[in-house]
């Protein structure tokens, strides 16, 4: 670990020198590639340091991103971090593709119904608690204070829907990192994925109601069409991608990691343009491949593990660099209250509704549901764009919550997996 610390410090010193040189230079060029290189290298070595300290690598990636990013030391300009959006989409697609290969038909049959029920219970309870708290904070929250009662109710529901969301990206990345395997891990992964689908539907409904409360009218057909296109369209496109991948693997069968990176890149970029969910597209593709050809699914799993390290390190370091620490200061008390209530609601609903046959579920499952990342960011940005009058303030509040969740979530997820006994022994000891 000492070597990794020294390397990380040297990297930070080099970044400081480059940053200083830029101040002296009158005109500067594009910082995107610098951000990519710096975050990749810093992320990799910070991941090693974090692992040495018994933390998930992912926490190292995030923390170093925060440290060298525009809101702390400022070695990487904001424009550079924003320019890495493409990498974020790619990482989400790759992670979802791997997760999809885990979704075998047998597993869905075995735990599908129980997961769906628990998911509905957890999401419902969390929604109710956050909804009540947000509405109760109406006089304190500036964006709610001047609203009418129906408007305040609708906006509280919208905010709470976003706050409910989990992070499949973080969960799957931690599972990948720790190579955890077993019923607890399967249950957790299925829960966060189904929770994500549930939140997507609920968000569309809440957004429609909010629009109606502000006088925009309730367009039920448009609402259903939008949700249907995002869900079913994504699945159909994912299936087409799966067929493409299988044809490639059987016909060409060369440079699979490179091909998968390219395809996921296309899925992420194209999916966003077509208003599909890139996560669901890749998830459906991975699931179909794994169920049609088990061997192909394993090969994809292996190939992404090869290509995944740089993408994941860069993705999470960039996510850390994008965390607005200043927003945590401005809306801190309200955000922290919601963070605490959300955590308590998740803990309570897991203790109350998780399957009784496996005591680990009731004790540790809640820890795996705290993380929030890409999906929540995306929904917060959507609120900001769709409701320009109050959306930006809601976004600040949600981003502040994500900041807190991103810092503690990965640690808790790893702890849950470790406590369940499904992490490989060497990883638990932090020696690998």
């Amino acid at each position: 670990m000492k070597g990794a610390v020294v390397r990380l410090l040297l990297l930070v010193v080099l970044l400081a020198i480059i940053s200083r040189a830029q101040v002296l230079r009158a005109d500067s060029g594009t910082p995107v590639l610098l951000a990519a290189g710096a975050l990749l290298l810093c992320g990799l070595f910070a991941g090693k340091v974090a692992k040495g300290l018994g933390l998930p690598r992912l926490t190292g990636y995030l923390l170093v991103g925060v440290a060298v990013g525009p809101y702390a030391l400022g070695f990487i300009p904001n424009a550079g971090v924003k320019g890495l959006e493409l990498v974020k989409g790619l990482a989400v697609s790759l992670i979802a593709l791997v997760a999809g290969t885990e979704l075998r038909l047998g597993l869905i049959r075995r735990v599908g119904a129980r997961v769906a029920l628990l998911c509905a219970a957890v999401c419902g309870a969390t929604f109710l608690v956050c909804f009540g708290a947000t509405f109760a904070l109406k006089p304190v929250l500036p964006f709610l204070a001047d609203m009418t009662m129906p408007q305040a109710l609708a906006v509280s529901a919208l905010l709470s829907t976003v706050v409910v969301s989990f992070s499949p990206t973080v969960t799957i990345a931690i599972v990948q990192e720790t190579r955890a395997r077993g019923t607890f891990t399967e249950f957790l992964m299925a829960l966060v994925i189904i929770g994500d689908l549930l939140v997507m539907v609920a968000f569309a409904v809440a957004a429609g109601l909010t629009k109606a409360s502000f006088g925009g009218g309730l367009d039920v057909t448009g609402l259903l069409g939008g949700v249907g296109w995002e869900l079913f369209g994504s699945v159909v496109v994912g299936m087409v991608l799966a067929v493409g991948m299988l044809v490639y693997m059987r016909g060409v069968n060369r440079e699979l990691p490179l091909f998968l990176v390219g395809l996921c890149f296309a899925a992420a970029e194209g999916g966003t343009r077509l208003h599909l969910s890139p996560l669901l597209v890749s998830l459906a593709a991975g699931a179909l491949i794994a169920n049609l050809d088990e061997h192909a699914g394993e090969r994809i799993h292996h190939a992404i593990q090869q290509a995944g390290l740089p993408v994941f390190a860069l993705f999470f370091a960039a996510a850390g660099a994008g965390l607005k620490l200043d927003s945590l200061l401005t809306v801190g008390p309200a955000a922290l209250l919601l963070v605490a209530l959300r955590g308590a609601a998740i803990w309570f609903s897991c203790r109350r509704f998780a399957p009784v046959d496996d005591p680990r579920m009731r004790r540790y499952l809640w820890m795996g549901l705290i993380s929030q990342a890409g999906v929540t960011f995306g929904l917060a940005a959507l609120v900001s764009r769709t409701f320009p009058t109050f959306g930006p303030q809601v976004e600040v509040l949600i981003v502040a919550m994500i900041t807190a969740h991103e810092l503690v979530g990965p640690v808790l997820t790893r702890r849950a997996l470790a406590a369940s006994g499904e992490i490989r022994t060497d990883d638990v000891q932090g020696t690998a």
Binding site: L11, T30, P31, L33, L34, L41, L86
Partner: protein, 406 residues
Amino acid sequence: MQALLVFLSIAALSLLASSRALDPGRFPALARLAASGFLFVLLGILLGPSASGLLSERNLEELRPVMALGLGTAGVLLGLNLEPRLLRSLPRPVYLSAMAHSGTAFFFVALPLLVPLVFTTVRGWVGALGAAAMLGAAASLSSGHSAVLAYRAGRLDRARGLGVAVLTMLDDAVGLGVLALALMIGSADNVGEGLGLVCLALLLGVMCGALLAFLTHSLKDLAELTTVTLGGVALVGGAAAYLRVSPLLAGVACGATLAVVGGRVAERVARALGRVERPVFLVLVFLVGCSVHAREYWAWVLMPAFVGLRFLGKMVGGRLAGRLARSALVLPPRLGYALIAQGGLALCLVAEYGMLVPGVLARRVLDVVVMAAVVNELLAGQAFQYVVDPSKGVMASASADTKVAA
């Protein structure tokens, strides 16, 4: 979206290039262009702002980081080839010979083309001098890939093939030296500031190279090594692009430092980088193609003159080089014909010049060199037949070239 378009275009063309549709027997010129990557230049021209307009100037501006990554990667790979042990072992006649063939082509092109450049610019003779020097530098470069492919395919003695390869490797130094000079003249308000910027690029490269050597020193895992290598290349290219200095020169300094201080690490880094070299190169040449202004008539006027003068320069320079290196290298009798292919570094030089030096002249240099490079690549296929044993046949050689390149 434009990035997706680039990706899809390149993926489609890569599949086409590796498929049987491009049979060297049926389309030898096309197969040669596909194997060397120059087909992507043509695709770039077609999709770029000056032809179909699918990619706009703004799109290209947004893709600048990708260009910087390509230039940085090319630079690091070039620098890694500057192996001190090999360079020390080469006798003086080899250096003289390389200087002869590249220097002759440089002067054959730069001096005559200086005249039209001076008369068609408002930037004065200093700007024209820099542009003419860049044309000369691009003309001085040759690619040794035909010779290497020929000896691997058994159509040329190994010694002769390697001789040509060594000469073409050394001419890279001339090209890079002239680039540094041209950037000193053109990239800043005065030569002193330009010199400072070139020094900053080199210093940045040296620092990144030393750091990369240290970072990769004890890495054993291949995935980690590849990640650190990619990160290092992105860091050096990105830092140079951010500070608006040359990513190519910074990359060369980084690679050379790594080769000097890295020992065995340099070999491992080169291997790791070799895995992404081809895709990065293809994207780079595609973007360079996009930057061409195909409707610029002056470029079309200058391009035939560039190709003709360079051909003459290589013929004369090749003869001179053959005489100078007689005692040290085994070279084919008609060496000049083996030096016609221009290679990718010429594109990197003019792309860099175009990025850092504002104005019409830099754009014109890029247009001329990129179009001439495609023509030279096509000419090289025919010209190399005069170097190899004619009894082996044209068809077989083209086929072998493509196979080995694939």
